[in-house]
């Protein structure tokens, strides 16, 4: 017959053992695995989320910054290797210069971050290459990170572009969009350059934002068929219609407003 004291001791021992087992099971659960192949953005990773948070760690303290719509990464060295996974030995997906073909600073939109086995931080970035939505990994040490206050959401069916600062709608702008033969492709892009045409009286109007995405139809266009957001010299026929080769056209007063507002890297979500 077991004494009451021994029974209590056994139960206590059993409880302690199970607590330790429970802790072990929880700790051994996988949290996240590093991707090992080239990735594409998915619908569950929308660019438009305004809830990004950055924890900035300094030798003395840690602090948290909030309120940005996302983060841009600007290339620091003369060229940058973009890899298929967050590891120094991962295959190089593409090498890009510090300035793009139009002389703009090479900028990416940051989608994710991860540390490699040595503890080095890597960013998964949206790339300005085909196919649309391609991402790759860059070393955090090779880029300068900046917070993006704004994001754009385009509703092709409504010929409308909305400008958001966090959750606040700043402005709705009427658009002309791609024709049925040369449609504007839906997807997630970012602004990679701002151009001012030498002649403001062309189909491009006063300014042109180059996007990270491409037409799915015009593959032999100069520079590969880069999508853009620009003004127009013909607002009477270019707005609220399917008129373009894939670009988004707006009145010059609207593109001038955006040109004075948006940083490189600003995310653009195009809803079909």
């Amino acid at each position: 017959m077991t004494s009451p004291i021994r029974r209590v001791a056994r139960l206590a021992g059993l409880a302690v053992a199970l607590v330790l087992v429970g802790m072990g099971v929880r700790i051994l659960l996988p949290v996240q695995r590093a991707p090992t192949s080239p990735e594409r953005s998915t619908s569950s990773e929308r660019l438009s989320s305004p809830a990004y948070t950055v924890s900035t760690t300094t030798p003395d303290a840690a602090r948290t910054l909030v309120g940005y719509s996302g983060y841009a990464a600007t290339v620091k060295p003369a060229s940058i290797e973009v890899r298929d996974a967050p590891a120094p030995g991962a295959p190089v997906r593409v090498v890009l210069p510090d300035h793009n073909e139009n002389g703009a600073p090479q900028t990416f939109f940051i989608k994710d971050e991860q540390r490699d086995a040595s503890g080095e931080v890597w960013y998964r970035v949206l790339l300005p290459i085909r196919p649309n939505g391609t991402t790759g990994w860059v070393r955090a040490a090779d880029v300068e990170v900046s917070g993006l206050p704004y994001r754009l959401v385009v509703y092709l069916a409504q010929f409308r572009l909305d400008v958001f600062q966090g959750p606040h709608l700043l402005r709705s702008i009427e658009l002309g969009v791609g024709t049925d033969q040369t449609p504007t492709p839906g997807g997630e892009y970012y602004i990679k350059e701002l151009l001012r045409p030498p002649d403001p009286n062309t189909v491009y109007g006063h300014y042109v934002f180059g996007l990270s995405g491409f037409s799915n139809v015009l593959v032999n266009w100069p520079d590969g068929g880069v999508l853009g957001i620009h003004g127009t010299n013909d607002p009477a026929h270019a707005i609220a219609r399917k008129v373009s080769h894939g670009c988004l056209r707006m009145r010059n007063e609207d593109i001038e407003y955006l040109a004075g507002l948006l940083p490189l890297g600003t995310p653009v979500e195009v809803e079909t």
Partner: protein, 61 residues
Amino acid sequence: MLNRKRVGAIALAAGMAFGGVGLSHGAPTTTTTTAKTMTTTTTIRRAVAAAAVVRTPRQTG
């Protein structure tokens, strides 16, 4: 009245919970499954409006 099964279940649940708390505090934020949290050792500055480059555009138009 507590029997062995009840004690075991409670202890296992406590262990899971305690283990979870320990994990979330001890692991780096970079292992979160979303991009909502980022850690960096660099200073984050607010991006400013892009500088325009004077160039003949070649976008699709």
